[in-house]
């Protein structure tokens, strides 16, 4: 693509990042920016959440709930939590805890388990996928079969069986993260294997092999750097899965009650039928937090997919560029827009800029 562009007179000659850092350059699409901002917010929350929480999540104060005295002689008194107020921004629970404090403290374990499991699963999938793809033969057959079997067996039920048997899983977020990673590595392994297969016969790998590089060195220095975008995408996907899995386990009561996380909050709220009682301030905030965090990961993942495959981007021309070029509507078909020069003197430049931008990001890929 870049050879065609070099003939265009308007090709920008502005600074191109040094090759070393090009792999780290991210596309500047709104999806990526929104996703990054959300993730950054939750990362900060995970660090400072437990510090800025006004109370301990288990701190109880009987004055934080209303006790409704029984109206009849033999009736039992009813406890009702407080709705949000100045003292308790998100109200209180029926156990007389502060919801905001629980929410802030829970951020740490939820985010930690998600990212730890995502990282562990990605390492596992790189190990399996790259080994299988690069070595080929019997190793490939065996490892691919293992990955496919793990993909076919439903993850959550396996997770539940594992979590209910492994001793101490209900008290240790790290152990839970590892169990989640064991059930979540297969998808990434399959994608990475496919990409490695296509890389291993490229000329630069061939050249390294001919020049006598060791297999290990070729894998680490020639193949792996080209897998970074796909590994990152699979990391985001697995983290998304891991957060969902952790929260689900906690909701089922399999993640213990010592480590505060958003799933545990939802479980307690559900157990005291907070949704049916109209105590939205108790069950809605943790759910919204999980959804937002997942949304951030998914947005970043879409951005990453578009980075890997530039054809998936919204359109060739941005709305502003199209208007400046005097185009009424953007091309409907997926074809590269072909227009007569007389109609659009300006867009030649903006398309060229657009293309250069695309080829700039696409150029980081092999």
């Amino acid at each position: 693509m870049s050879t065609n562009l070099s003939t265009l007179p308007t090709r920008p000659t502005t600074a191109v990042a040094t090759p070393r850092f090009r792999a780290l350059r991210m596309p500047r699409s709104p999806k990526v920016i929104a996703g990054s901002v959300i993730l950054l917010f939750f990362a900060v929350l995970a660090v400072i959440g437990p510090i800025i929480a006004p109370f301990s999540p288990t701190h109880t104060d009987i004055s934080w709930v209303h006790v409704i005295k029984p109206t009849t002689l033999f009736g039992s008194s009813q406890i009702v939590p407080e709705s949000p107020s100045g003292a308790h921004w998100l109200g209180t629970t029926i156990y007389a805890n502060d919801v905001l404090s629980q929410l802030l403290v829970s951020a740490r374990a939820t985010v930690l388990v998600g990212f730890l499991a995502g990282a562990a699963a990605t390492v596992l999938s790189i190990l399996v996928g790259v080994t299988a793809g690069y070595l080929g033969g019997a190793a490939d057959d065996g490892l691919s079969l293992a990955a496919n079997v793990f993909l076919a067996i439903p993850g959550l039920p396996l997770l539940i069986v594992l979590a209910s048997y492994v001793p101490g899983a209900d008290g240790s977020p790290v152990l839970i993260a590892l169990i989640v990673a064991v059930t979540g590595w297969a998808f990434g392994a399959r994608v990475l294997r496919a990409q490695t297969l296509s890389l291993r016969n490229r000329e630069f790998v061939e050249a390294a092999r001919v020049s006598g590089e060791s297999t290990f060195r070729i894998i680490v220095f020639e193949v792996l750097p080209n897998l970074v975008p796909i590994a990152a995408s699979s990391f985001l996907f697995t983290t998304l899965y891991a957060i969902g899995a952790y929260v689900s386990l906690a909701y089922l009561g399999l993640a213990g009650s010592d480590i505060w996380n958003w799933g545990l909050m939802l479980m307690q709220a559900q157990a005291q039928s907070a949704p049916a009682s109209g105590w939205w301030w108790w069950w809605a905030p943790p759910g919204v937090c999980i959804a937002l965090l997942g949304c951030g990961l998914a947005l970043l993942n879409f951005g990453m997919d578009e980075f890997i495959n530039p054809r998936l981007r919204d359109a060739g021309l941005s709305r502003k560029d199209a208007r400046r070029a005097g185009l009424r509507r953007r091309p409907r078909l997926g074809f590269t827009p072909v227009m007569r020069r007389a109609e659009m003197p300006v867009p030649v430049m903006s398309t060229a800029v657009q293309l250069a931008r695309e080829s700039g990001t696409a150029g980081t890929r092999p």
Partner: protein, 328 residues
């Protein structure tokens, strides 16, 4: 045909792995949680305890391989032990009662989600760059919401809030409007009434995956030469879309296996929220009561259901794509 035989062989292997995990896990984990759980059981006669101990290999002198053979034999006879949390009823009976509910809900929700998601995905790919693109972030948001949380929100809005739909159960069992199960209109209406909210929850959370996959494949397919030819020779846009979509849908069918296990996981949780009488609801009680035979039985049955669904998807794929038939 050879392709299908090979796929069948693969699923049999996957099923064997699942049931082997099921056998070895309770025997190999340290601390023996099952023995501890048995200690907490009350009102049990000695015969039942002996059967449970035999099932989990506690205090048995047989070698583990003999136990394994016995275990496989029991499975072939449909003997999954007794459920501790349900007055020691055989697990197989309980699963048999719950399975139709789960399969029905899963089938309807998956088919609706797949068809609707694929159609929207075609539109998204075709009208790329229009206002339709705004559906994507919205769908992403729904996809990121945990199934049980969205279920709770829908329950709040449409059942407890607006009273449009019932709060729980699979059909009306109590009150004036209770219905008799059977082939009568009132029962079927009640089924639909109770199924709308759980099914919508599953559709809303799972549809984004089909939409995204189909949109991306549409975008890629529309760059293919055959679409250009179809367009150039003046076929109507509808026909061009049809040709492109037919080819773009293949990866969606091929990716079915990944999607279905996520959907099944979500459905188990949705059933808990709606107290739907399916396997997820059984699972919740089994987990709460540390009912190990039940948990294991559920794991096995769900795995078999998912593998069967995968095989069905393979059948469809082979029927759709002639290339899949030629692979030797």
């Amino acid at each position: 045909m050879l392709v299908l035989v090979r796929r069948l062989g693969f699923y049999l292997l996957a099923a064997w792995v699942a049931l082997t995990v099921n056998f070895f896990l309770p025997r190999l984990v340290p601390g023996n949680p099952v023995a501890t759980a048995i200690g907490h059981l009350t009102f049990v006669n000695a015969q039942v305890v002996a059967a449970i101990k035999a099932q989990f290999g506690i205090g048995i002198n047989e070698s583990i391989w003999i136990q394994y053979v016995h275990y496989l034999g029991d499975l072939l006879h449909g003997n999954l032990g007794v459920s501790w949390g349900n007055s020691f009823e055989p697990v197989t009976n309980l699963l048999g009662a719950a399975l139709p509910w789960t399969l029905g809900l899963l089938g309807v929700a998956t088919v609706v989600s797949f068809l609707l998601g694929t159609l929207i995905g075609v539109a998204l790919g075709w009208f790329r760059g229009s206002w339709l693109d705004w559906l994507l972030p919205g769908a992403t948001f729904f996809q990121a919401i945990p199934y049980f949380f969205l279920g709770t929100v829908l329950l709040m809005l449409f059942a407890t809030g607006l009273h449009w739909f019932p709060i729980s159960q699979g059909y009306q069992t109590t009150g004036i409007s209770s219905v008799e199960p059977g082939l009568n209109g009132a029962y079927i209406l009640s089924l639909i009434d109770h199924g709308v909210l759980p099914a919508s929850t599953i559709v809303l959370t799972s549809i984004a995956g089909w939409m995204m996959g189909m949109r991306n494949m549409m975008v890629i397919t529309m760059d293919e030469d055959f679409v250009l030819v179809a367009r150039a020779k003046g076929l109507s846009p509808g026909r061009v879309v049809w040709y492109a979509a037919r080819n773009a849908v293949l990866p969606s069918v091929a990716n079915f296996s990944l999607a279905i296990s996520l959907v099944v996981a979500g459905q188990l949780l949705v059933e808990i929220v709606f107290s739907y009488p399916g396997i997820g609801y059984l699972l919740f009680h089994a987990v709460t009561n540390q009912d190990y035979p039940m948990v294991q039985g559920i794991f096995l049955v769900i795995t078999l259901v998912v593998l069967a669904a995968n095989f069905l998807a393979d059948l469809v794929y082979v029927a759709l794509d002639p290339r899949a038939r030629q692979v030797a």
